[in-house]
């Protein structure tokens, strides 16, 4: 006898069922780190029956963070136009006594070692903050200046509003160049000396629900140690390329300094480490499967920060599992990896959120709408462009071979327009550079030998397709006044000098 098999019914449950279990204490919560093994063992249908909520968490540098502060009105009242908190400027162009303090704003007295993020951490830690305000003086707000000292509790509101947090994943960084770079991705050692990455991988909120089945506007989350909300897609939300972001908000007065930590990246600036966690209800098998994501499944490009352009070359891609192993291979070389976000703290976020839900203190909210699933970040439209090195460089550059004598080089340099003389190999490749100073020194020391003995072998150079701003920065960093311009085979094709640049800027101003 033929038996008709009933169509498989997808396991599912409702958010109100889950909230009912949270209220009566029977809810089953696991962290996103535990979920892959559960789904592997029970299958997605079994996991839907076994697990109600998966908690996620991330803890890393989130530069696009800040707080709205309402100071209350002074007597006589003031309409603050500019304001400083512990000498860190906050934006005063919002009504009379509302300020927005951004995490990355450096202080005027301590520079980047103390910034907006540090003010936020001080406020959350209960420390006093000195406030200075300048007013405009109106009939309704006659006061021109204010100075006071405030604690968090003295503010009417302190609302954290972070335009871009909790990136779905983030590019890993390395450095092909010859010098150590100090970036928002930390210290990047020369010649691919290290790879830095950021992100919680298996615990990342969006990576556990990349289709925004649950994540959306109005979802209650863990933010900085308190309950907060997803406002909507974050700035630069780029879901089609796998770089979705969240805009989040919450009450700073309820947050804790354990999950909001000020930091400074050397020669970059201040930033705020923020703990963000999103609970994901296992409503159906799709969510069971998406929360089973592992470090191995999430890959990021390893990007060369040695190239100081928006489009930085991608050397390869690597999964979080590889990045977290401590080494990745680049061009046949084992390169040590390290993270800038804290996986330990990401676990604390996911673990704390799990406890809140198990204790019945945190109920899940329905999304008002999902985050947009389409869209990519676009580059800036630049309407006023600086020229490129190739547009400005001198093409009539004179070069010499390595084997000529110093007096010969002196004759060439006298006959040329430059104080710098690139030294090239037989096939025209840049080998070194000598300056009028090098020649004078050689003559003064009685060292009249060949140029190869007195030339500087570590030459900084520019390429024709480089914006002149980068060439100017190279000259500035190394205190030099000219750069040979080389093609992709390192052949000298021109020269750019600080004089060329000053002429260019003088010309622009006089226009």
């Amino acid at each position: 006898m033929e038996k008709v098999q009933a169509p498989a019914v997808e396991a599912e449950k409702s958010l109100s069922e889950i909230n009912e279990r949270i209220r009566d204490g029977s809810v089953r919560v696991v962290t996103a780190e535990e979920m892959p093994a559960i789904v592997e063992e029970l299958g997605p249908d079994g996991a839907v029956r076994e697990v109600d909520v998966v908690t996620t968490g991330t803890f890393g540098a989130m530069c696009s963070s800040g707080v709205f502060l309402n100071l209350g009105h002074s007597d006589p009242p003031i309409k603050i136009s500019r304001a400083w908190l512990n000498r860190v400027e906050a934006y005063g162009g919002v009504a009379a006594v509302d300020l927005f303090l951004g995490a990355t704003q450096p202080s005027e007295d301590k520079g980047i070692e103390y910034g907006g993020a540090h003010v936020i951490e001080d406020l959350v830690s209960g420390r006093p903050v000195d406030v200075i305000g300048e007013g405009v003086g109106t009939d309704c707000y006659p006061r021109m200046e204010i100075e006071t000292t405030l604690h968090l509790e003295d503010l009417n509101q302190a609302l954290m509003v972070n335009p871009r947090n909790a990136y779905q994943r983030y590019n890993a960084a390395t450095n092909s160049s010859e010098r150590t770079l100090h970036t928002y991705m930390g210290t990047l050692l020369p010649r691919f000396g290290n790879v830095h990455y950021s992100g919680a991988g298996v615990l990342n909120p969006i990576s556990n629900d990349p289709g925004f089945e649950y994540i959306g506007t109005g979802v209650r989350i863990f933010l900085g140690g308190a309950q907060g909300y997803i406002v909507g897609p974050g700035t630069q939300h780029s879901p089609e390329s796998g770089f979705a972001t969240l805009m989040v908000a919450g009450d700073l007065k309820r947050m804790t300094s354990e999950f909001l930590r000020a930091a400074t990246f050397t020669r970059y600036g201040p930033t705020l480490y923020v703990g963000v966690g999103v609970p994901i209800p296992i409503l159906n098998e799709r969510l069971a499967l998406s929360t089973a994501v592992r470090d191995e499944d999430i890959t990021v490009p390893i990007v060369d920060y040695g190239v100081q352009r928006r489009e930085r070359p991608v050397l390869r891609s690597a999964s979080y599992a590889e990045l977290r192993s401590g080494f990745v291979e680049i061009n046949g070389k084992e390169v040590p990896t390290a993270s800038l976000s804290s996986f330990h703290m990401a676990r604390r976020v996911a673990g704390t959120l799990k406890e809140w839900i198990e204790r019945g203190e945190f109920l899940l909210t329905e999304q008002a709408e999902p985050l947009p699933r389409s869209g990519v970040i676009r580059p800036m439209k630049q309407t006023k462009e600086l020229p490129y090195v190739g547009d400005v460089m001198n093409r009539d550059v004179v070069t010499v071979g390595e084997n000529i004598s110093v007096p010969e080089a002196a004759r060439v340099i006298v006959g040329s327009r430059f104080d710098h003389l690139p030294v090239v190999s037989d096939d025209g490749k840049l080998m070194g550079i000598i300056t009028t100073w090098d020649i004078s020194k050689a003559v003064a020391n009685g060292n009249i030998s060949r140029v190869s003995e007195i030339m500087t072998r570590r030459v900084y150079s520019a390429t024709p397709d480089e914006p002149i701003e980068l060439a100017a920065r190279t000259m500035d960093i190394h205190s030099i006044s000219a750069l040979p311009v080389v093609d992709k085979d390192n052949r000298v094709i021109g020269m750019i000098t600080s004089n060329d640049l000053s002429r260019l800027f003088a010309g622009r101003r006089s226009r």
Binding site: A61, N194, A338, M345
Partner: protein
């Protein structure tokens, strides 16, 4: 064991390390040296059994010798266990243990790379 030598201006040009090696027969590894016209600061690695002898030999030559037992300190209050110190350390002083940063102070040569690399300013070199 690591030793930090502080060499006074008067003797900075003398072949101090060479003469101490000849006297003690110790295998000395120079981990870091910054020497200019007026002074010098050198970090050496010496096996534990020769450490005392090498220290005495340098001190007899007028060099200040400091045993670097805990060369770098990590402030547990400030550290968030991100790992920014791990890959930039030339000697592998820091590593993760279950995603918490642990320090092996015996490896530190006090180069200071970690101090500027730590976003939370949780690291400090002792005696510097």
């Amino acid at each position: 064991m690591k030793l930090m030598l502080r060499v006074a201006p008067g003797i900075v040009r003398k072949p101090l390390i060479a003469s101490v090696i000849l006297e003690t027969g110790a295998l000395i590894n120079i981990e870091r040296a910054s020497i200019d016209a007026v002074s010098g600061e050198i970090v050496l690695d010496v096996s534990d059994d020769k450490c005392r002898q090498v220290k005495d030999a340098f001190e007899r030559r007028g060099v200040d010798v400091i045993l670097l037992e805990i060369p770098v300190m990590r402030n547990e209050e400030e550290c968030v266990h991100c790992g920014a110190c791990i890959a930039i350390c030339p000697t592998g002083t820091f590593r993760f243990d279950d995603w918490k940063v642990v320090t092996d102070p015996g490896k530190c040569i006090q180069c200071g790379a970690c101090v500027t690399a730590c976003p939370h300013r949780a690291l400090q070199l002792v005696l510097r």
